[in-house]
């Protein structure tokens, strides 16, 4: 399969205000290497503050990295995005029609008749009725708005869609519907997704490959079919063990530390060492590199 986009050695940092007058430069992404194949779903799994949304914005081209390269293979760059909060990502003064036609006019053609036709057929596909075209966002429920956001992303016929926590603001029953929609669209339109989430179940329902991120670094990149079986990076193990689901008793958690913040300064050694139940002396001195543990699994840990 062909690569669609590739990030090579990407570093991204920001100036962060630390006091009234003091500012500090903080690396948010460190040595990120990734690619997404055509028709593939790459899941980025990580908790708040790990840099996963920044990674999304670099892929979208909304942020330029300080170091490294973002390469898009093939002609015109066709990327779209769906964000977490459908309340703030839709313009409250735009009707659904205007919301859908604006990107169509900009990216596809300035043809109102065909645009409306396409908008109507997409609305049906996402499970809404044609009448919605004249609605404003406040007339729709959270799930319905996320469907509109999805239709807006698809109207320009993108090749890659960045999904930044697309279901975490939604109720359980609505989440299931949206995940099913995303899955069927991927097959129907041969889409690639960059799926950003903190939830292991969500990433398992959609992704083909999963990259686990901690404090701006990838600590594991694994194909979905091997993700739940060991060996794991200790952080991946913690994420899996912390997952709660109906009628499953989670393992006892071995770790009790609090996550460090990126702002607190550069960490010497492995990014996860301060919370890791298996950490040794060398872990506090050196950052391990990602190595192939099996054909489908890369882990950055001395123990693996």
């Amino acid at each position: 399969m062909n690569k669609l986009i590739e990030l090579k050695g990407v570093y991204k940092g920001f100036k962060v205000r630390t006091g009234i007058l003091t500012k500090k430069f903080v690396w948010v992404l460190k040595d990120i290497n990734l690619f997404i194949l055509k028709g593939e779903v790459l899941g980025i799994l990580g908790e708040s503050g790990c840099g996963k949304s920044t990674l999304g914005s670099v892929v979208l081209g909304l942020n330029t990295p300080e170091r490294g390269k973002v390469e898009w293979y093939g002609g015109k760059k066709k990327i779209q995005a769906v964000f977490q909060d459908p309340y703030s990502s839709l313009n409250p003064r735009y009707t659904v029609k205007k919301t859908l036609l604006e990107p169509y006019f900009l990216c596809v053609a300035k043809d109102e008749k065909r645009g409306i036709e396409r908008a109507k057929s997409l609305l049906l596909k996402v499970g809404l009725k044609e009448e919605v075209l004249s609605f404003y966002p406040h007339m729709l429920s959270g799930g319905q708005r996320q469907r509109v956001a999805l239709a807006r992303a698809l109207i320009t016929e993108p090749e890659l869609v960045v999904l930044d926590e697309p279901t975490s603001a939604l109720d359980t029953t609505v989440q299931a519907q949206i995940l099913n929609l995303l899955k069927s669209f991927k097959e129907e339109f041969k889409l690639s997704y960059l799926l950003i989430t903190h939830s292991v179940p969500v990433v398992m329902s959609l992704a083909d490959r999963i990259a686990v991120m901690y404090m701006g670094r990838f600590v594991e990149i694994t194909h979905k079919d091997e993700f739940l079986s060991p060996p794991h990076h200790p952080y991946t193990e913690l994420l899996i063990d912390s997952t709660l689901e109906v009628a499953r008793i989670p393992k006892r958690i071995k770790e009790l530390g609090e996550p460090a913040s990126l702002i607190s300064g550069e960490i010497k050694g492995c990014v996860f060492a301060h919370r890791c139940p298996y950490a040794e002396e060398r872990c506090k001195k050196l950052q391990p590199e990602l190595v192939n543990v099996t054909e489908k699994k890369q882990i950055a840990c001395f123990k693996c």
């Binding site: 809404l128 109720d171 029953t173 292991v200 398992m204 689901e245 499953r248 958690i253 609090e258 996550p259």
Partner: protein
Amino acid sequence: MPLLEVENLCLADSSTGKLLVKGVSFSVEKGDVLGIVGESGSGKSITALSILKLYPPGIKCTSGKVYFKGMSIYDMPESEVLKLRGKQISMILQDPLSALNPVLTIGEQVEEVLEVHSSLSKKQRKKRVLELLKEVGISDPELRARSYPHELSGGLRQRAMIAMALAGEPELLIADEPTTALDPTLQIQVLELLKNISQKKGLSLIFISHDLGVISYIAKHIVVLYKGEVLETGKVEAVLKEPLHPYTKLLIDSSIGLNKRPKSCQENLIFEEPSEGCVFYPRCVKRCEKGRKEKPPLIKVDETRSVRCFLYE
């Protein structure tokens, strides 16, 4: 006698008069953990707040009673209810950053509860604050007691909230989505803490969440709320293993897990028309003719289990 009994609670929007909670009843025994599960708009949070007569702005109680150890809270003078709040019944809320006072240190805020609800001297109070912080798993309590809320991480803030809630040595703790704002690795730590405290002290817990996975981890009994009505109640294992109400079944089928993908859930309609009969009728896959016009009563299936559905008549 149950520790807490909520009887036929009805809450309405005070400007439009629209009923938001329609006759909700449940009870909590001593040492029990009751999980209330419901999606947004189900009325779970306003029900929780109303137990202590803390009606949110724009919401009024139109009927119903709440009994705590047999005493009717709604018939007490306000001064008596004040003594109950934070003492015998306390609460923790979803977002600790907005529930904590930003200009007071964590220690001062925990101490405030002791000042109101205990007869300890200042020195004893200081000592008790440190004990409480330690009890909720905060390492280095002396340092943390001097910290302000913004200096702590989300997990520590929620632990500080729990310390405040425990300071009055309550018999009942109401927790409204206490882990929803936390990352999964912290969520499980806070849940385990609440579970341990409840077991160790025989503390009763009302735990509200939209997440069935969380409820199945912590609760012993469950109440399924939908649009202000109780649709099913029972022991957690029984309800999750064999859901009776079509809505409970839909909830279980839609929740995902490590190896559990969302089923292509059968559901009628995304656009709901209000129904005169059963509240779930518009989305129900089993739609019975009777439910279209008539409201089903809560039907007792066995000793511990009830369901609001004509299919079980």
